[in-house]
Symmetry: C2
DNA sequence: CCTACCGATCGGTAGG
DNA sequence: CCTACCGATCGGTAGG
């Protein structure tokens, strides 16, 4: 006997009263909207239970659809995963490149970059990047290549800022390893951060900057 | 149609010639041995494909058993996961506490700790800790509690060394966040490290120590 | 987007 | 530890 992953209902019984969103037919024009809902719901579920631990039925239920209906919007479950990662990376990349564009001094630029990354990594409703980080293995080879291309741009932004920190004498190296250590330390926060914990995102950002660059001089 | 995860064979046909280890009955006395083989094979598979992405049949095949036979050694698949994590943590803890016991100066102690951790995190045949880090979510609540207890001891060792670094003036903080940043940066290496890459474990250890503490003075 | 369904696979078990 | 098997579930599809 397998452990049950979800409540089982008789197939012929319509789910009458439950907390989930409205089932039914989409009104014309809100189709793209529904697609976005699926992506967001899937991101949250993938983050919590992993890609393999989440069923298409879970996703359908979360947006108030019947079990087969997500396939009206996506051809395969894998395509949903790709959409989650692509949309998350695109949004993150936009925020990140905006930080680069704002001509801040190195330390402030680093702080802004860390803060922006913490938001998409840890804040409520931003489940895309954690899924990217922790469900990497579930991507097909072809989809992995697409994601890598986006991720490379992300890394380039960080490498650029690390270089500026080095030039300003705030770091003593700007090697790729330095970037990997900084980003790794931050990305690993997705493992231990609790939204109800002692530190907020602003405090974590400040202390992280201080840790890597040394306390700010005045 | 689902994508096939493995070759399918007619159930009545014995697998005659294949590369995997000998099928057949265990000789008396090597039972504990077989259990260990299962744990090691499972660790490797879990690391590659995740807990949910690995089937008991995969594990059985990897050690040359038929599909139901792992259940002679373990009650459930979950128990295999627990064994992987427990045995990995126990071994890591032993190596780690040995570093603490050897009375090295702070910088050398840190370096030895990093090096020991890199070994169990990245080296061939050490798949336990990566599984622990990346399949956390698949543990039941009760098993998670058991693992947390072991992990706390591990963290305590690192916190102790961070404290010594601070006292020696090599770090300017010994907060828990400092420990989380250092360990996170290192643990995240499991994501990007390639055994055929440019840097070996010794070089990574040296450069990591230099990054966090500043280059060694002479 | 629902209904109704399929083939494949999965974790696990009885009995030897 | 193998043989033979079960019930449940899963991703996906045809047809409306």
């Amino acid at each position: 006997m397998q452990p049950k992953r979800s409540d089982r209902r008789r197939p012929s019984v319509r789910p009458a009263a439950r907390a989930a969103p409205r089932p039914g037919r989409a009104r014309p024009g809100e189709e793209a909207n529904r697609r976005g809902e699926i992506v967001r719901a899937a991101a949250r579920l993938f983050r919590e239970k992993g890609f393999d631990g989440t069923t298409v039925r879970d996703i359908a239920r979360a947006v108030g659809m019947r079990s087969g209906s997500p396939f009206y919007h996506f051809e395969t479950k894998q395509d949903i995963l790709l959409a989650v990662m692509e949309e998350g990376l695109a949004a993150g990349l936009e925020a990140t490149e905006a930080v680069l564009a704002a001509k801040l001094p190195p330390r402030e630029k680093f702080r802004a970059l860390v803060r922006a990354h913490l938001e998409i990594l840890l804040d409520e409703g931003h489940d895309f990047i954690p899924v990217l980080l922790y469900d990497w293995r579930s991507l097909t080879r072809e989809n992995r290549a697409k994601i890598v291309a986006l991720k490379d741009r992300y890394d380039a932004v960080w490498q650029q800022v690390v270089r500026e920190l080095r030039r300003a004498g705030l770091l003593h190296t700007d090697s790729p390893l330095a970037r990997l250590l900084v980003l790794g330390a931050i990305n690993f926060m997705a493992t231990w951060y609790r939204r109800d914990g002692a530190l907020g995102l602003d405090e974590i950002a400040d202390q992280t900057v201080d840790f890597f660059l040394g306390p700010a001089k005045r």
